[in-house]
Amino acid sequence: MSGEETVGPWAAIPEIAKVTLRQLLGRRRTLLLVILSLLPVLLAVAFRLAGPGEGGGPTEVERFSRRVFDTISMTILLPLVAILFGTGAFGSEIDDGTIVYLLAKPLPRWIVVLAKALSAVTVAVLLTGVATALAGAIDLFPSGSDGILATEAQVFAMVVGSACYVSVFLALSLFTRRALVIGIGYMLVWEGALSFMLPGIANLSIRQYALGAAKAIYDLPLQEARLSAETALLLAGIAVGAALLIAVWRLTRFELPGGSD
């Protein structure tokens, strides 16, 4: 055993990230999420095969954005994937006790949180972003520059949404073992039902941050998007920053129970 020479704590980020990625990708539920992420791609193929709508009807960008991007990708795929990976980044290690191998190391806790968050966001973006890009390439690229910009905006919404959902639910998983249930409840009740009835809660909706952020690239034809790009990006930044700070604060105070003894 040596150990005289040491490197800085930054070097731990790729190590923790690699282990976290293998944890997250090695689960059976990830396979289900991959299958789910194929749904927008399959729908894009179906739209493409069905051809454009009647003249005078919605454009292909409008049709695809409303029926596939908004209804499937934003409402189901993104929150489900990001919440599962966000809560799973720490959750499984807390459940099985392997968190001790991270905590018993001379690392600033923000390094651990950052590595975990980066891993979970990466996996979430890989699934949701790639699926959205593929779907857009199949159905929207033939519509010209509007279709390409709309696809870019939709992918950007996935990136912003993934970062927000992952950060918030990663932090929550350090407080409660029911973070996943709470996340699903948030997705269904808060964003799925209440946000339609109470437009005022847009400022507290990750979905709205993602939709609003897309406007920075292209104004997708969605009535749902209530926030401007600037406001959405600002609120998304605040949500990610605050959630990660809370996660660091919580991990610093994280206590392991005494067990049976």
């Binding site: 055993m1 040491t6 070097a11 293998r22 006790g97 191998y101 905590l103 067990g259 003894d261």
Partner: protein, 325 residues
């Protein structure tokens, strides 16, 4: 090696037994930890220097809580915990000097043994993580299995790879929670040898166990915890003698309990005899002597023995005796 229980009234007082000019590797002063109304650790004080110390106690005695406080994972509700002169709670830098083997078995099952130990080395910031990992794996004798996923390991192998991960950075203090769980006798001996060598090299090692034989084979010093309290501490031989020489209660069923009672009462190894509905209850402080005389005594009295049961041989009863003393 200094295992010194502190005087409860004057923890760490200058001139107290075991006080040296050096900072003790581990020092607890009147430490307590409670969860709501449940007291897990109560008023525990001791100091440890280099060497191997066994933390002995039945399940639920507070051993894991104590180790978690020493590892900085729990704050004491009262008192002070110091490792290498500083509080380990909320101070990650202390882990450069502490190695911890937790009780729970879980290890990342998808990593190979080598990857797991190297992961520990890299999180410790070691520049030559590969070299350190290979050396640590060699110390626990897992070279042949180091390229297999940990998920395929036996319980004993998982314990050994956990130990390798905990000592990869050559810590000054090693805390092990039930490290011999799941190990076969050969693995136990090898692990005991390893701990002995580390202690000889000046490391402070504290390991918990609920099995007396494990502790006495490794630790020259022991701490006995019962119901959250430190019931005894010091040289294991002295404490072992207390455990062996304590009063033993033996229940005997025979063809004539009353006649056997009369025969046993005259024997100096027996200090109490009582006729009960379950049979003859005998108390002796010399269990070995009693075992050798009972057959002859019953034969001389013309009584046939039907059953001889030692009714308080459980570890819990031994601990209970130590507490009552």
């Amino acid at each position: 090696m200094t295992t010194q229980p502190l005087s409860p009234g004057a923890p760490g007082a200058p001139g107290a037994p075991g006080t040296t000019a050096e900072v003790p590797a581990i020092e607890l002063s009147r430490v307590a930890r409670w969860y709501g109304n449940v007291v897990a650790v109560n008023d525990v004080s001791f100091r440890l220097g280099a060497g191997v110390t066994g933390l002995l106690g039945p399940n639920g005695a507070g051993k894991t809580t104590l180790l978690h406080m020493l590892a900085g994972f729990l704050a004491p509700s009262a008192g002070e915990v110091r490792v290498l002169g500083r509080s380990p709670h909320r101070d990650p830098s202390v882990y450069r000097q502490i190695g911890l083997v937790p009780e729970r078995e879980a290890v990342y099952p998808f990593l190979t043994g080598f990857e797991y130990v190297r992961f520990n080395a890299r999180l410790q910031g070691l520049r030559d993580a590969d070299g350190a990992a290979r050396a640590a794996i060699a110390r626990v004798g897992l070279e042949d299995a180091m390229n297999r996923p940990v998920g395929t390991y036996s319980k004993g192998m998982r314990q050994r790879v956990k130990v390798a991960g905990s000592l990869v950075h050559d810590p000054q203090v090693l805390l092990l929670d039930e490290p011999f769980n799941g190990m076969d006798p050969r693995q136990r001996i090898a692990m005991m040898d390893l701990l002995g060598h580390l202690a000889a090299a000046g490391r402070t090692i504290l390991f918990s166990s609920h099995i007396l034989e494990e502790v006495e084979q490794v630790g020259t010093q022991i701490l006995v915890m019962v119901a959250g309290r430190l019931a005894a501490s010091g040289d294991f031989r002295a404490i072992r003698a207390l455990m062996t020489d304590r009063p033993h209660r033996i229940t005997i069923r025979s063809s004539d309990d009353r006649r056997l009672a009369t025969a046993l009462m005259v024997n100096p190894a027996v200090f109490a005899v009582e006729l009960t509905s379950a049979g003859l209850a005998v108390q002796t402080a010399q269990l070995g002597v009693f075992r050798s005389l009972i057959a002859g005594a019953s034969r001389s009295a013309g009584v046939r023995l039907l059953e001889v049961v030692s009714s308080d041989e459980s570890l819990e009863s031994v601990f209970d005796y130590l507490v009552r003393r």
